[in-house]
Symmetry: C2
Subunit: 111 residues, 2 copies
């Protein structure tokens, strides 16, 4: 048997961040583009952009700074505050699987 879990952060009952949303934000930053990141996750630009806006509204943190136009057609990158927020979430998330698996093994190995 395997233990499975899902974890996420809420504010006033609304999801602020989850592993899925974290991955999308990081991919936007890596590719420098909401458009390309949305494509990679098989979602529409509209959906990805709406997701970012919800994260920003609910966390109260501006996540992305976008440049419009230019020779490379603009771009989107994480703000310093956004990066700091994601780093905290990753620090929380890191090792959580081992923690939960250990507690599971301990409980189920008895008797």
């Amino acid at each position: 048997m395997d233990v499975k879990f899902k974890v996420w952060v809420e504010k006033k009952g609304e999801v602020v961040l989850s592993n899925g949303k974290l991955n999308i934000l990081k991919t936007i930053d890596q590719l420098g583009s909401i458009h390309k990141a949305a494509e990679q996750f098989g979602m529409s630009y509209r959906h990805a952009w709406g997701m970012v806006q919800k994260i920003e509204k609910r966390s109260g943190i501006k996540m992305l700074e976008t440049q419009i136009g230019g020779s490379d057609g603009g771009g989107a990158n994480l703000t310093t505050e956004g990066k700091a927020f994601l780093a905290k979430y990753e620090a929380f998330s890191k090792g959580l699987d081992k923690l939960i698996e250990n507690k599971f093994s301990k409980a189920f190995s008895k008797g």
Copy 2:
């Protein structure tokens, strides 16, 4: 912000037990009746019974012993093995919220 989580146990990719299923099994045992427990959770008898059968099949543990008929119209109670399995799950589940919340607080209190 609040951290939220869901946890469950799987076998070969199928859910064996979750907090929800645990509660239903315990309620069946307390009320001595699948029928009454199903009613309390707003589900059909058929659904509750199917759920119990899936848990038994996936865990390989007979969870309920049922008595048919008698002056009280039969009844359903947890087997010794079923009780032991649920006790292990509860031992695992107990304190998990605090563990996760502490890890969350630590990560998010920095900086």
